[in-house]
Symmetry: none
Subunit: 180 residues, 2 copies
């Protein structure tokens, strides 16, 4: 499974955390994931048991499922992709390096990274270079947007009386996900 790194990735500096989901909602979420995990385990075991006797079943193999589940979406099979797509492993390593900070990698550093990542799939130095450029640019843009919306919220909050509560459509991002 793609468990995601240390807590540092999830907790920003100086952020204030308030409980958004109730314990019941968290439990629903946990159960939904657990159901998938259970089914996966059973099916994998079943598959192993079967292929122990019949090493090939209708040409289907689990194979790449273990390898790159993120890329297992249906459409991406036959056509050779024309642009580089990082494998899950490459992405994880890149993210880790990015989170370490240290700014933009030097040319020498990029060479080293490329060599390292090429053990996990096709990659070129320009891919690495572009990736860092894009990652940085988009993070910055996102932060700017967040800053603006935060400022607006504060301004609005100042103009309203504290007792008054206003429906904020901005929170719709959260209510849609994982609702069964």
């Amino acid at each position: 499974g793609g468990g995601g790194g240390g807590s540092g990735e999830w907790i920003g500096e100086g952020a204030l955390y308030v409980k958004v989901m109730t314990d019941e909602q968290l439990e629903v979420l946990r159960r939904q994931i657990a159901i998938y995990a259970t089914i996966c385990e059973q099916l994998v075991e079943m598959h192993k048991a079967i292929t122990a006797h019949h090493d090939s079943v209708a040409g289907m193999r689990l194979g790449n499922l273990y390898g790159d589940p993120l890329m297992a979406s249906t459409s991406q099979k036959i056509t050779a992709r024309q642009r580089w797509t990082p494998t899950t492993m490459q992405l994880r390593l890149l993210e880790a390096m990015f989170n370490e900070g240290n700014g933009t990698p030097s040319k020498q550093k990029i060479k080293q990274i490329t060599t390292e990542l090429s053990q996990h799939g096709q990659i070129s130095e320009s891919n690495v270079y572009n990736w860092f450029q894009n990652r940085r640019a988009r993070l910055k843009r996102k932060q700017m947007v967040a800053l603006v919306s935060n400022t607006e919220s504060e301004v609005e909050a100042d103009e309203e009386s504290p007792d008054e509560k206003k429906p904020r459509p901005n929170s719709y991002h959260q209510e849609c996900m994982l609702v069964g």
Copy 2:
């Protein structure tokens, strides 16, 4: 919509909601769940194919797992991502702006447009940004297709199909890689 249940199940009365996870973190979470969903779907299909030949496998059965309401999300998966849909009024205004103001709006302009359009429904700056990007790109593609179909009789010697893309020179290679 994000599927079943009124918002009352998720939003308590009088509760104040603050964003605890960034959109990026939410996306990571969604993808992690989606991994399970994808694996499960494929494994279930595999299981069906297998049990078509062996109707009893070592006493293991999925049983009611298929019937689980959380699993039977044929119409709306729990991992489905919500996506903005412009209202007719928003769409009309966007089209008008696109037709008059040539080119992609600046960030400042986008902010203004967003504020204006939010009077006609939920919308964010990235929605506006994406809309203009897509509108422009698709118009260009349509024009190119039209152009190709107009001139195809003249340039039939060219073996290149319209779908094929020409790899463009990479600036990183030009500026950095070939040095030394």
